[in-house]
Amino acid sequence: MADVVVEHGRVAGATGARKRTSLHNALKRKSTVAFFLTLPLILLIALLVLYPALFSIHLATLNKSMQKFVGFGNFTFLFKRETFWMVVKQSCIFAITAVIFKALIGFIVAHFVHNIPAKGQRKWRGMLLVPWVIPPAMSTLAWLWLFDPSYSAFNYTLSLFGIGPVNWLGDAAWARFSIILVNVWYGAPFFMIMYLAALKSVPDQLYEAAAIDGANWWQRIWYVTLPMMRNIIAITTLFSLIVTFANFDIVRILTSGGPLDQTQIFATYAFRVGIESSDIPLGASVSLFMVPILAVAAIFILRDVNKRGNEA
């Protein structure tokens, strides 16, 4: 690569010097071209991602009317609020439980799809990925209707077995369960697809060798599949952890954080405080609490992705 680049420069220099102006040469230089090609990207990231991120730290240090600097005042205020600690606990329970179940279900389903003859896999995979394709706001509306306490399907079905009626979204424990269920429904297909791709990349010889050594199916998963898929499992899980932790749509539409803020997570609480109660600095402080966990996950993802890049 480097050789060609040098050659390109030399050719351009030799012929161009006579024919074209120096401005033309500058425009033909690789670094200039590269700069202009990446300029829109750099501007976008700087103005609409980096700047708001820093601005949010600034906002978090102001008082409600945004005229006085209060330092860590918003944070100490939040630390004293019981609701805030509930949000922290809620977000962690929600994200960890949902990610574990998504990963497990995704792994199991990927195995089943991998197990069946290759001819039919496409069809099954196509149907199983549908939850991931529907915009979450739309599918959550369908769940909201399925959870409806009096007229709808779940309680009707349960009543046939003499159970219920369950107050799916009105009772705090059931509401948490419902939110996690919807999130698992939405996110498991993503894991399934990633694992399926990873499963297909495990060389068959390894399984043959394991079978010759007398390994049963469990040993094959434990000693062959899992080590081979370790990297993709790590990346997918961490990625999903970020997305789930920062989730907004599902909780907002299902419960809006209710009953009594008992299902509120960071994103919905920040929305409630910052936009609905128009205390922008406090809302910014709430969402900034997501940064540490997101940063840790991001660092690990980056490490794994780079490792993966070097392997390939």
Partner: protein, 303 residues
């Protein structure tokens, strides 16, 4: 060795060796059984959407089996598709998504080309930065962005809040990093001999990009386009925060805020709206599933 070969392809062949292929056949039956269970789980909400959308309000509130339509009617569809408000949401969504897709491609394809092929000062850092930006969720930035747009309005008089076109500025922050990232991967996988040959033949960098890289990486380009479209179409938080007037809303926010009037849920119409809102991504997915999946799995790989 031969037993192993049969072990792997067992189920569709004649049973030759007792226990092993019988185990395989049972494993296969269980696989199908659980796949059916999971498919039912996956498809229940969309199918229930369809069922409800075909019912009249009277049937929905009647105490009949909710899983079946006794008197199918298209009145919900007719009502929504003739309502100016709903068409307005649809139009806003389509407009925003299409413009965002175009902007995204115009930004990310040249940038990915530069990052994949033209090693320059800081290119590795920038590529890492792009990936990190992709990991920043919308729920972290909506409050500072909201305040930023309000300040811009105060300082320059340009109204951005409560206008649909504000979304044209914020959606690319969600789509561009991912599209750039996967395009870097696709471009990096193109053999260097191709662009070397082009450069020896006297092609400029831009010609190399438009004549060689874009045609060769077309599958990647399609995957990125699909991704950008579905993300823009599905985005819920930003439009909820930045737009409030009914004529400025996009579909997801429009359906959740206008069809739910107080405590009265007109479920027939809500489900119809949700189904129509889910239709464009579903149709794209039905026709371009392989590109969709390629884009999905490419995000976690490099090169």
């Amino acid at each position: 060795m031969s037993t192993i070969a049969i072990d792997k392809a067992g189920p569709r062949r004649k049973v030759k060796y007792g226990s092993m292929s019988r185990d395989r056949a049972w494993a296969l039956r269980w696989s199908y059984f659980f796949l059916v269970v999971f498919v039912i789980f996956s498809l229940t909400p969309p199918i229930y959407m369809l069922i409800t959308s075909l019912k009249s309000s009277a049937e929905i509130s009647a105490a009949t089996n909710p899983w079946w339509v006794f008197h199918p009617t298209l009145s919900n569809y007719v009502e929504l598709l003739t309502s100016n408000q709903f068409l307005r949401f649809f139009w806003n969504s389509a407009m925003v998504s299409i413009v965002v897709v175009i902007v995204t491609m115009l930004i990310s394809v040249p940038a990915a080309f530069a990052l994949a092929r033209m090693k320059f000062w800081g290119s590795a850092t920038l590529a890492t930065g792009v990936f990190l930006t992709y990991l920043i969720p919308d729920s972290l930035l909506f409050i500072p962005l909201f305040k930023m747009f309000a300040l811009i309005q105060d300082l320059t008089g340009i109204t951005l809040l409560n206008r649909w076109y504000v979304l044209l500025f914020v959606y690319p922050t969600l789509t561009v990093p991912f599209c750039t990232w996967i395009m870097i991967g696709y471009f990096a996988s193109i053999p260097k001999e191709l662009d070397e040959a082009a450069i020896i033949d006297g092609a400029s960098w831009l010609q190399t990009l438009t004549r060689i890289f874009i045609p060769v990486a077309l599958p990647g380009l399609i995957a990125a386009t699909i991704f950008a479209f579905t993300v823009s179409w599905a985005q819920f938080l930003y439009p909820l925060v930045f737009t409030t007037s009914i004529d400025q809303l996009v579909l997801p926010v429009g359906i959740t805020t206008t069809l739910i009037k107080g405590d009265v849920f007109n479920w027939g119409q809500i489900m119809t709206g949700a189904l129509l809102g889910a239709a464009p991504p579903l149709i794209i997915y039905a026709f371009l599933m392989d590109y969709y999946i390629a884009g999905l799995t490419a995000g976690a790989t490099k090169g």
